[in-house]
């Protein structure tokens, strides 16, 4: 092998290459496979039919997140369909010797929250999961991406995927974020600039002073929404923060070998001078708190801006803007601030971690949820829940009129009982504002940071979180 500088993506790819396939694709070893109840049952049925075992049962880890209720998680679950799915996952894990982090383990949570928490997610790994937000794990310098159920079958059977390498686009976020501007705003700004399909064929490498300054949880928020920009994986090069986050976690090495492991992790970072297929720079100092106004995450703007007019956008965007305006029933040219909301949702694999809840709680302390607004806080995992309760955040939220729930995906995709009703407008810290996404076929979603959601819950409308004095 030559000594040419390589990107993290290339290093990870080469380390996990089993062989080149005749099709030109790579047979790539998947070091860590995460599964949940929605996209795995059919895959287990397929390997059963093929008569093949799970090849590396100790490299697949399971949890339950999508269908689990957030009010009463006692068994059997009230919803028979949800109970059947959970039962099926438990049976499959038992039968194949796969470790299952269910509620009784104390470690249950959204799959992309618990992977890092447990230390399963480590730099230099390949990680796959039947869920598009698997890109989250890239925050640790892993190559992590979502797959469909047939590919879950492939991984169960062979611990490998047949896949073509991606190009790498480095996205440098320069400057410094203004107060009240969060990781969520950064990724929304990136998607706005590059488009919802701008990342097709690419892995995104996030870098620059703004990314360097971010905590691991903030980096997870950025990587999480890579897929909303069309990139199936996004990553940040591992650094001292990555190493510190992983110290002492359940699946990370103990003190005796940790330093040596950490050295290996840091060596996975992209080499200075390595080649990229594309480089994009974004000025982080100019990013505002962002809000979506339409029906995909690219339909977003700064909170001080106005909803676009069909006449004011590019020709190829016009039909989409018209469709979005009609669905949202918003007035072109109107200010996004002041838009009335009915529901506020804080949670999800994008923004359901402890730091998200802390930021939202600071805002919640300044007032009370507006009469007529339903506001939910759903921790991303049992560990997040415990930590928040130990800090008294649950009390802060309850006192301010928010419901404090049990962990799960909840109203991000509404596969459990947490759903919008009718035409409700929801200020949401989740990742997708697609038509019908939050459970009502006509429901409407405004994506924003958890602090912005808390501010909207109190005001009953979209407001600029920078105008709220949190005493910070």
């Amino acid at each position: 092998m030559s000594d040419r500088p390589r990107s993290l993506f290339q290093k990870v790819w080469e380390a996990h290459r089993v062989r080149d396939l005749p099709t030109g694709q790579t047979q790539l070893f998947i070091g860590t496979h995460l599964i949940h109840e929605v996209t795995s049952p059919q895959a287990f049925a397929m390997i059963r039919e093929l008569g093949v075992p799970v090849r590396f049962p100790n490299r697949t880890f399971a949890t339950v997140d999508h269908i689990i209720p957030t009010d009463d998680q006692s068994r059997p679950l009230a919803d028979d369909l949800a109970e059947a799915m959970m039962g099926e996952l438990e049976r499959n894990c038992r039968e194949h010797g796969v470790q299952f982090f269910g509620p009784e383990s104390g470690a249950q949570g959204i799959v992309h929250v618990i992977g890092p928490e447990l230390g399963l997610t480590q730099p230099g790994q390949t990680i796959a999961c039947g869920d598009s937000h698997t890109s989250t794990h890239g925050a640790f310098g892993a190559i992590a991406f979502g797959i469909g159920t047939s590919q879950v079958r492939d991984v169960l059977a062979s611990q490998c995927l047949a896949i073509s390498p991606l190009k790498v686009r480095r996205i440098e976020v320069t400057g410094k974020l203004a107060p009240g501007v969060y990781a969520k705003d950064v990724i929304l700004a990136i998607i706005r600039k590059l488009g919802v399909n701008g990342g097709v064929g690419y892995a995104y490498e996030y870098a620059g002073p703004v990314i360097d300054a971010m905590s691991m949880e903030e980096r997870m928020t950025v990587c999480n929404m890579s897929i909303e920009g069309g990139a199936r994986c996004g990553y940040v090069n591992p650094d001292a923060k990555t190493v510190e986050y992983l110290r002492g976690r359940r699946f990370t090495p103990d003190d005796a070998t940790f330093a040596k492991k950490a050295e290996g992790w840091l060596a996975m970072a992209s080499d200075p001078g390595c080649a990229y297929d594309d480089v994009v720079t974004i000025d982080g100092s100019k990013i505002e708190p962002s809000v979506t106004w339409g029906i995909h995450p690219g339909h977003n703007l700064g909170v001080s801006e106005s909803i676009p007019t069909p006449a004011g956008v590019r020709d190829d965007e016009r039909a989409g803007v018209e469709e979005a305006l009609e669905y949202m029933d918003f007035v072109a040219g109107a200010s996004i601030a002041g838009t009335k909301i009915d529901v506020a949702f804080i949670g999800s694999c994008t923004n359901g971690r402890i730091s998200d809840l802390r930021e939202a709680a600071k805002v919640a302390k300044t007032g009370h949820v507006k009469a007529g607004v339903r506001a939910l806080v759903v921790p991303g995992s049992m560990a997040v829940q415990r930590e928040a309760e130990a800090e008294g955040l649950d009390e802060v939220f309850r006192k301010a009129g928010f419901e404090w729930r049990e962990p799960g995906c909840s109203m991000c995709l509404a596969m459990n009982p947490d759903k919008l009703r009718g035409r409700e407008v929801c200020a949401s810290s989740s990742n997708r504002n697609f038509k019908g996404r939050q459970g009502s076929p006509t429901g409407r979603t405004l994506l924003m940071s958890p602090a912005m959601v808390a501010a909207a819950a109190i005001a009953g409308e979209v407001v600029d979180v920078r105008e709220i004095a949190t005493g910070d």
């Binding site: 929605v38 059919q42 590396f56 979502g146």
Partner: protein
């Protein structure tokens, strides 16, 4: 192993009538709303394809248009299948009756899921796609052919160059799109790769 050379299904072309669903960025929540995924099989997905969009269109959705009844090729716009990785989306469309997709572009995970099911996703140049859409809408009874060998889409609108990644085309044409068998052929090379990695401690079989 139940699979062997004898059951390789080669997808060299798909021929039939087509259906046009216009619009860009049609996401997989749109194709199959999440509430229909509360099941442990794909069996029932077909009847829920585009459930909410069809309800919203009150019978006027292309999937409910009798002129497109029995279509096996779905013609779509840009970034089709974006969003969630749910294989339920291509499963729903396949079980509804579609065997191939022709569009301006496809989201990556969706296209990968389609390949795993033996469903080609081919793209056309913008002008060609516009012509094909118009032609199919004008004459839905015409036969459209997605020819993977010739890398063409043929219809009354003419012969158009179809674009798809070479590796995917090869998988479909050679019948190796069902990847499990191919991956297992690597044998012990899988364990050797595992052993070379610093974090896969116990590669037990």
């Amino acid at each position: 192993m139940a699979t062997n050379e004898d059951v390789l299904v080669r997808i060299e072309s798909v021929e039939g009538t087509a259906c046009v669903v216009r619009g860009d960025d049609i996401d997989t929540d749109r194709i199959i709303p999440a509430r229909f995924m509360k099941v442990v099989t794909f069996d029932d997905m077909g009847r829920h394809a585009f459930a909410d969009a069809r309800k919203e269109a009150k019978g006027k959705h292309p999937l409910d248009d009798p002129r497109y009844s029995g279509a096996s090729i779905l013609v779509v716009g840009k970034n089709f299948g974006c969003g969630s990785s749910r294989e339920h989306a291509p499963q729903a469309l396949m079980r509804f009756g579609f065997q191939a997709f022709v569009g301006a572009s496809f989201a990556e995970i969706f296209a990968g899921n389609c390949t795993a099911l033996g469903l080609p996703c081919v793209t056309l140049a913008e002008r060609d796609l516009a012509k094909l859409m118009d032609s199919v809408e004008l004459d839905p009874a015409q036969t459209v052919t997605v020819d993977l060998r010739a890398k063409q889409v043929r219809s009354r609108a003419g012969e158009m160059a179809a674009i798809l990644p070479d590796g995917v085309r090869q998988q479909l044409v050679e019948g190796t799109w069902d990847a499990t068998r191919v991956l297992l052929e690597a044998g012990d090379a899988i364990e050797r790769t595992a052993a070379s990695l610093p974090y896969v401690e116990m590669p037990g079989r």
